[in-house]
């Protein structure tokens, strides 16, 4: 009668397929020893901040600038020592999730819009004072040893000293030296890169070099990072601050708002060096553009910076003034978010409102720097739309409530299925159990491998979906009962014919739910999106379970006497369903 389908002929195989699927996921969970999904902050406790861009009415922010903002905020948050925070884009908003309590300081700095400022470097030293030990143990690796003897005269020689190691440092690491020149490429200059760049991640050798000379020159003052440097014109308080600051600490002042009219102490953004910087010479707002590109002659990556008219004048002035000064005072630090992102040496006076920064850039670092120069700190202005902090106890309460109602809902639905459909209800119950297992495994695997965090809206979505999943069984069961009531088929063929009809209904209905979930997931924000995700996930799982479990199981059950003979408790009892006499005959014949 019914054309054989693969699931009809081999229900066992289909079941096996599902079993393999479950075992694979189960094995993943077991291997990762991840038996509990990771929870969102509304369940685990923590603070969630939603930042919305403030824009002139009607405008939407570009995705590029949002991505940029996410990166910067992530850096800031991580900079405070919170490593488990999440910063993510959600539509046009940025959502920051900080687990645990009492993270006020992190909240403050996430939405500040800092500005780029160019400041002359007055003094520079390694991130923190080297341990006070015999001078020979000075940590400086290569060049500093050669530099130290010459160090005594003071600043001028220090300049040379710090120049030497950065050249030598290349083998030791990736010392990035930056030089700032007028745009006309002069090959000789790029090669003559002389200074330790603030950005230099592994530039510490050169930075410590400037500290090292002093230690050999004046052993009693071994720990003073300022020894041997010209401190004229620097505020006394700043000198003290400079001596005390520890730039290797995680919190090194990122996000601090610096007063452009004051001298400041700042760290390099990687924490390898500390600086004393003069008042701001040029404000970031005076930069009209910055691009990363390659030097046509050398092929090296460079960053090209252009200034607006006022900025061009200011920049020409400051470069003219400091280019002839001894290092480090011929460096112009770019301060952003309270840290020095780059401090190139001024190779020459640069008039004309256009400059280029060269050094050992890669494409990534060059683009990064260009973006920072262009956008300042945050490319957009943000306001805190919502700040939600959930205590760990409230989170636990919510989790417990969600889980209890889930279990409760599952049990009620199972009982109902059992009471109403009897034997068929058992199949429905088994299917629900399988759906629950697959859902748990999926959520667990996703949370440990794809950054998914189970939150309350998810749990609610999952619980509500119990109904959707059970609905599919009901549609199928009712179809089977219809077929039997019509009485022209054996149970075996009824199961197959009913399946072909029910399958369409189930797929259309599930498609509707899935469309709802997808639309909401992509268009809604916050809780609604989470809820939609759970709904979409369970709709998919529903299809998988009905196709790979309920149907094959039903096919197998149809072979059992209990169901095939329409036992009173099978839920297929012909008399109770009010089948016509004609039909009854057919079934008995079968």
């Amino acid at each position: 009668m019914a054309p054989p389908t693969s699931s009809q002929s081999k229900p066992g195989r289909t079941l096996l397929l599902l079993l393999v699927l479950i075992i694979v996921m189960g094995a993943t969970v077991a291997l990762q020893k991840a038996f509990v999904p990771k929870f969102g902050l509304d369940l685990a406790g923590g603070t969630t901040v939603t930042l919305s861009p403030v824009l002139a009415n009607g405008k939407t922010p570009s995705q590029e600038s949002l991505d940029r903002a996410v990166t910067i905020i992530r850096q800031r948050v991580n900079g405070t020592g919170i490593s488990d925070a999440q910063v993510a884009k959600s539509n046009d908003n940025i959502v920051i999730q900080i687990p645990g309590a009492g993270r006020d300081e992190a909240l403050k700095l996430v939405s500040t819009t800092a500005e780029l400022r160019m400041r002359q470097v007055l003094a520079v030293a390694a991130a923190k004072a080297p341990p006070v030990q015999p001078s020979t143990a000075a940590p400086a690796p290569s060049g500093s040893a050669a530099a130290s003897p010459a160090a005594s005269p003071g600043v001028a020689s220090t300049a040379k000293a710090s120049a030497a190691p950065s050249g030598n440092a290349t083998p030791a690491g990736r010392a990035l030296s930056k030089a700032l020149t007028a745009p006309t490429p002069e090959p000789s200059e790029t090669k003559r890169a002389r200074t330790s760049g603030g950005r230099a991640a592994k530039a510490s050798p050169s930075a410590s070099a400037s500290a090292a000379p002093s230690s050999s020159a004046a052993p009693e003052d071994a720990s003073d990072p300022l020894a041997g440097q010209d401190t004229s014109g620097i505020d006394q308080a700043l000198l003290t601050e400079f001596r005390n600051i520890d730039c290797s600490a995680k919190n090194r002042g990122q996000g601090a708002l610096d007063d452009p009219n004051k001298q400041i102490v700042a760290c390099s953004d990687d924490g390898s060096a500390r600086y004393i910087l003069d008042k701001a010479a040029v404000q970031g707002t005076e930069i009209s553009g910055a691009q990363a590109g390659t030097d046509p002659t050398t092929g090296e990556w460079i960053v090209q910076v252009n200034f607006k008219s006022k900025g061009a004048t200011q920049f020409a002035d400051i470069t003219r003034r400091i280019t002839s000064l001894p290092a480090p005072r011929n460096q112009l630090a770019n301060v952003l978010d309270g840290v020095v992102i780059v401090a190139p040496t001024i190779e020459e006076a640069i008039p004309g409102g256009s400059a280029r920064i060269s050094g050992s850039f890669t494409q990534v670092t060059a683009t990064d720097l260009a973006d920072q120069l262009k956008y300042g700190a945050l490319p957009l202005k943000f306001k805190q739309s919502s700040v939600v902090s959930v205590s760990s106890t409230l989170g636990q309460d919510q989790l417990r409530g969600g889980l209890i109602s889930g279990a409760f809902g599952l049990i009620i639905v199972m009982l109902y299925l059992l009471l109403y459909y009897r034997g068929l209800g058992l199949i429905g119950m088994a299917s629900l159990c399988v759906a629950a297992i697959v859902t748990f495994l999926t959520v667990d695997v996703l949370s440990h491998n794809a950054g998914f965090r189970l939150s309350l809206p998810h749990i609610i979505g999952l619980v509500v979906s119990i109904g959707i999943t059970a609905d599919s069984f009901i549609v199928y069961f009712e179809r089977i009962r219809d077929e039997i009531k019509e009485g022209r088929r054996t149970l075996r063929s009824a199961v197959e014919v009913a399946w072909r009809r029910a399958r369409r209904t189930i797929l259309v209905a599930d498609a509707v739910m899935f469309i709802a979930a997808v639309v909401l997931y992509f268009l809604a924000v916050g809780d609604v999106a989470g809820f939609a995700f759970a709904m979409g996930l369970t709709t998919l799982i529903d299809v998988v379970v009905v196709f790979l479990f309920t149907k094959p199981l039903m096919s197998l059950a149809a072979r059992m006497r209990f169901f095939a003979k329409g036992h009173k408790l099978s839920g297929l009892d012909a008399e109770r369903m009010g089948r016509t006499g004609r039909a009854e005959q057919t079934l008995q014949e079968a």
Binding site: S391, D397, S405, G409, I460, D527, R576, T580
Partner: protein, 347 residues
């Protein structure tokens, strides 16, 4: 098993959903009018998430009263202090506070009631945030409806799509009306509930329409049943299925509602499940008494079905004249394949 339940179980029940559609339209129109009136008069009681403000949650210590908590929080600075009992917790709502003010309230509460400061949950929602949330939801709703219209038009036909969407809006308006009249707070969680209703309302309608499509698909030009009668048969036939699916869908929601109310008091769970509960009850009604009647009204305008209706009607009259003694209604004499027929013949 005697009575209605037994007949329901067998799918042997015959309610004239479609024939009485004027009654249903009247009832729905009345409900809609009342809902819209409620929305106009009372509006929705928007939660702090939409209005903007600050909310604090902390464990209720024995001996603390609403009055006390209100005074304590007011001492810390906020002006509009509302204290509610939420399960084992106090929930305090104030105007939107700044970060320092939030900390101050937390400290004050922590001191006074011996709760660790870290265990005082807080929420600060900017005044425009709720607007953005609901704006996004509206956009989502419109896009969703268009997507569903398109999908159902392809899977079924545009009339079914239109009927389903009308039923859906019907559900939303009435649910909103219930909220307006009852004064239940509308929170983002409530919105989740509304949105789920959309899914369910459609799920139900799809199951019914699928059956109608199957049954009416068999109606040829020589059929002895009008579209209306066939649709009604299909509806009666799927009634048990509709009720079952709806009941099964409502059960877990009722569980959430129960747990949400008893264990947690206020909060996401309760808000959501309340909306779902109300919406699903309305949704079950509408898929039976609104969606299908509208579909039938639309379909009967098609020339094909009009012609059929005329023919069947003419026959009905003549048969009635010819055999006044036969009690059996004419519609029973249609094709033998319709399940509904078997049922009728049996009587």
């Amino acid at each position: 098993m005697p009575g209605v339940i037994s007949r329901l179980y067998r799918g042997d029940i015959d309610i004239d959903f479609v024939g009485k559609r004027k009654t249903w339209y009247g009832l729905s129109a009345f409900l809609l009018a009342v809902s819209i009136l409620g929305l106009a008069l009372h509006g929705l009681n928007l939660g702090v998430e939409f209005r903007g403000g600050s909310v604090f949650d902390f464990a209720r210590t024995p001996g603390s009263s609403i009055e006390q908590v209100r005074e304590t929080v007011a001492e810390a600075g906020p002006h509009q202090v509302i204290v509610q009992q939420a399960g084992p917790n106090w929930r305090v709502t104030t105007e939107s506070l700044k970060a320092e003010e939030v900390t101050k309230v937390q400290q004050t509460v922590a001191q006074k009631y011996g709760v660790p400061e870290s265990q005082v949950s807080s929420q600060v929602i900017g005044a425009t945030w709720g607007g953005e949330v609901s704006q996004k939801a509206w956009i989502g709703l419109v896009v969703f409806m268009i997507a569903i219209m398109l999908y159902l038009s392809v899977a079924f036909e545009w009339r079914m799509a239109l009927a389903a969407i009308v039923a859906l809006m019907h559900d939303l308006v009435i649910t909103a009306g219930v909220y307006a009249w009852s004064g239940f707070e509308v929170t983002p969680a409530t919105m989740l509930g509304f949105l789920t209703i959309l899914g369910y309302s459609l799920y139900d309608a799809v199951v019914v329409f699928d059956m109608i499509k199957e049954v009416t698909g068999k109606l040829g030009t020589s059929a002895k049943m009008t579209y209306t009668q066939a649709a009604n048969n299909a509806l009666s036939h799927t009634l048990i299925r509709s009720l079952n699916t709806s009941l099964v869908a409502i059960l877990p929601v009722a569980a959430i509602l129960f747990i949400g109310t008893t264990l947690l008091g206020a909060g996401t769970l309760k808000d959501l499940s309340l909306a779902l509960f109300v919406g699903m009850v309305v949704g079950t009604y509408s898929s039976l008494c609104v969606a299908t009647p509208i579909l039938v009204t639309l379909k009967e305008r098609e020339p094909k079905w009009q012609a059929l209706a005329k023919r069947v009607h003419a026959k009905e009259v003549s048969t009635a004249k010819a055999s006044r003694t036969v009690k059996e209604p004419v519609s029973a004499g249609s094709q033998g394949t319709t399940p509904a027929d078997d049922k009728r013949k049996k009587r």
